[in-house]
């Protein structure tokens, strides 16, 4: 076991899979010699050579379109989109093409692509660098969307994603890259891509979150504990598919839920979860299932980030609103 940051765990997962399978290719803008703008691919070109880890020309649509093509030749592409806000440049290649490859060839071809990309607010990146766009992706049939909340999960989930034979969007919250370390096994391990993780046990309230919001939820839960409210915290790990069974099991026990997302309120992952809960467990609920989200504006680079981003205080307020309902 070694203590690793999330970025180190990601590099470690990439190294593991590059070693395991010659068909794994890692590429994107600045991922070669530079090791990626966040150093996620640091040292990998030196270790595996430019044939396996390489820079591409600057074109996201080219990067993902090429990944689809490489898939037909038995490769397992692990492209990087430098910041997830740039995925709009590649929307057809991702959603219109890679996600439909298996379907439109009747299974003759498939696209075992893992698109890695940093996202998320709070680190003072400019326009279209911080946006939480997972909601768009979860609307695309054929894709899986994975969002780790820390180093241990990142390694296991990334290895599972690379080994999965369908396209996976693997979103890495920038705020978590270096914010804390965790024990991460040096050996390979996988984590299911359709199983949520109960990260904190509780009896009065179910908090459902993913990515950085898992940590805000845990913090809220710790503070609420002192006020006598016991919160269970579920880390979704994957937002497509959603492990609704784990959520329901918890809600049936706590009878209340608050769903937390960093993304804007309209549509989105949280809205879908609220719908699922009320459809399947309405008689277990003591209060409406609430959401904590950002407002329906663009992400405000640098100026109003702190107010705009949901935090543990917002979560605590919603929990109390539910408890007092």
């Amino acid at each position: 076991m070694a203590e690793m940051t999330m970025i180190q765990a990601i590099t470690d997962a990439l190294r593991t899979e590059l070693k395991n399978d010659d068909n794994v290719l890692v590429f994107g803008e600045d991922v070669g010699q530079n090791g990626g703008v966040f150093r996620a691919t640091e040292g990998l070109q030196d270790e595996f050579g430019e044939e396996r880890v390489f820079d591409t020309p600057l074109a996201e649509s080219g990067i993902i379109g090429m990944s689809v093509g490489l898939s037909t030749q038995g490769y397992r592409p692990v492209p990087e989109i430098q910041f997830f806000g740039f995925v709009f440049e590649a929307m057809d290649a991702v959603v219109g093409q890679s996600a439909r490859m298996r379907y439109r060839s009747g299974g003759r071809w498939h696209a075992p692509i893992t698109i890695r990309s940093p996202f998320g607010g709070g680190v003072h990146t400019p326009e279209l660098h911080a946006d939480s766009l997972e909601g768009f992706m979860t609307q695309a049939p054929g894709l899986r969307v994975v969002i780790p909340s820390g180093p241990y999960d990142a390694k296991g989930l990334l290895i599972s994603s690379i080994r999965n034979n369908d396209p996976v969007i693997f979103l890495e919250h920038m705020k978590l890259y270096r914010s804390f370390r965790e024990e991460v096994p040096e050996d390979e391990y996988t984590i299911d891509l359709d199983k949520a993780n109960v990260v904190r046990k509780g009896t009065d309230m179910t908090l459902v979150a993913y990515g950085a919001m898992v940590h805000s939820s845990i913090k809220a839960a710790e503070e609420l504990e002192e006020e006598g409210i016991s919160c269970e915290v579920i880390d979704l790990r994957t937002v497509s598919p959603i492990d609704i069974d784990t959520i329901l099991e918890s809600v049936k026990k706590t009878n209340r839920a608050v769903v937390v997302q960093e993304a804007q309120r309209q549509a989105g992952v949280a809205a879908g979860i609220v719908a699922e809960i009320q459809e399947r467990a309405i008689l277990h609920l003591e209060a409406p299932v609430f959401r904590v989200t950002a407002p329906d504006t663009v992400y405000p680079f640098s100026q109003a980030e702190e107010v705009w981003l949901p935090d543990h205080q917002d979560i605590k307020e919603k929990v109390k609103e539910s408890m007092n309902f």
């Binding site: 803008e29 600045d30 530079n34 090791g35 020309p57 600057l58 080219g62 326009e127 107010v307």
Partner: protein
């Protein structure tokens, strides 16, 4: 093989256009632009001023007093020579590094600082500046430029749309689409590709099998030029001619300026020593646009150390004043943000407006 590519060796047709060489000597008298002594001095003043602005911006960024900043030193001739060829009503579609062109077109300095800080007031161009705010998404401005130019043509304006991207940006699909559209509509657009040899860390050689970016004009059926981007006279001249063609109805031009950025890609943690050698840096510093233009002007008796110091002092003063003014700008609030999302607030935002008013009053 029976068939030989008809464009083999095409790059040889794209010789680099230079007027003023590294030693400050005119090497192409016939191409010398028609600029008065005052114009020449003004060009120099702007380059020196902009170099100071770059140094100060880097320092301010390190002190945490600026936000997003992409250094410009090395690219002054390419940026300011091209802007100098514009008329006030021409339309600029800049990339994130092209703030100096906006400033010399009339964007107040304090607003440039607010742009860096992510305040939307920094993106609000004054009435007499026809420009979009610097584009972050590489290539997006290029297709838009074709639209601005087509619109101008249809309105019968005698103006051009000018857009800037980098050597990396020329790999985007949007680049080919935008330049091709402008060609198809013979729209009055000028596409400048500032080839500073790197897209963050990726060397230009990895972007394409083509030896130059200028030669891509051949495929679009429009004029294309390769220019010494460290030579302010050459850049000015080529852009000025492109402008003339455009307003005369002769369509767009693609211009590649060969240049170099001395600093890091942006101030957000880029480390150029990971991908550039010191030798390469110093080789390019020898081509410096200010050094050679200074020699040229001094030989003509138009410039002196005193004059340069004056410009530098004035720049520092004005930067200080502008930063103070930027500091006075109230921080952008979420309610303000909500209010500028639509012309008319939709219902969801009306509700959220109330919610955030309360939040922000706490």
């Amino acid at each position: 093989m029976v068939f030989k590519s008809p464009v083999e060796g095409i790059e040889e047709k794209f010789e680099m256009i230079q007027i003023l060489n590294e030693d400050g000597k005119i090497v192409n008298e016939d191409a010398m632009p028609d600029l008065s002594d005052d114009d020449l001095v003004e060009l120099m003043r702007r380059m020196v001023y902009t170099r100071v602005l770059d140094q100060r911006s880097i320092a301010l960024n390190r002190q945490g007093r600026l936000g997003f900043y992409a250094p410009t030193a090395g690219q002054e001739a390419s940026q300011l020579g091209s802007q100098f060829a514009l008329e006030q009503d021409d339309f600029i579609l800049p990339g994130y590094r092209d703030v100096p062109q906006l400033i010399w077109q009339g964007l107040p300095l304090y607003q440039a600082f607010l742009f860096s800080r992510g305040h939307y007031h920094g993106n609000q161009m004054p009435e007499d500046v026809q420009a979009l705010s610097p584009q972050i998404i590489i290539g997006a401005q290029i297709t838009q430029a074709a639209g601005v130019a087509l619109g101008m043509k249809r309105r019968g304006k005698k103006n051009v749309a000018i857009t800037y991207t980098g050597d990396g940006g020329a790999s985007q699909g949007d680049f080919y689409e935008g330049v091709n559209f402008a060609g198809a509509y013979q729209a009055p657009a000028i596409f400048i590709v500032q080839n500073n040899r790197f897209a963050i860390s990726v060397p230009v050689e990895k972007q394409s099998a083509a030896k130059t970016i200028a030669q891509k004009s051949v495929a679009m059926g429009i004029p294309g030029f390769l220019v010494d981007g460290m030579d302010v006279l050459a850049v000015y001249k080529v852009v000025q001619e492109a402008r003339e063609r455009a307003v005369n109805g002769d369509g767009p031009t693609l211009i590649e300026t060969l240049t170099y950025r001395y600093g890091p890609h942006t101030m957000a943690g880029d480390d150029p020593t990971r991908y550039r050698t010191e030798d390469m840096d110093s080789e390019w510093e020898k081509k410096d646009p200010i050094v050679r233009f200074r020699k040229f002007l001094e030989d003509k008796g138009l410039w002196s150390e005193e004059k340069e110091n004056e410009v530098m002092e004035k720049a520092k003063e004005e930067i200080k004043t502008a930063i103070k003014k930027a500091d006075k700008q109230e921080k952008q609030s979420v309610t303000e943000l909500i209010s500028i999302m639509h012309e008319e607030l939709p219902v969801n935002l009306k509700e959220q407006m109330e919610e955030y008013k309360e939040k922000e009053s706490k």
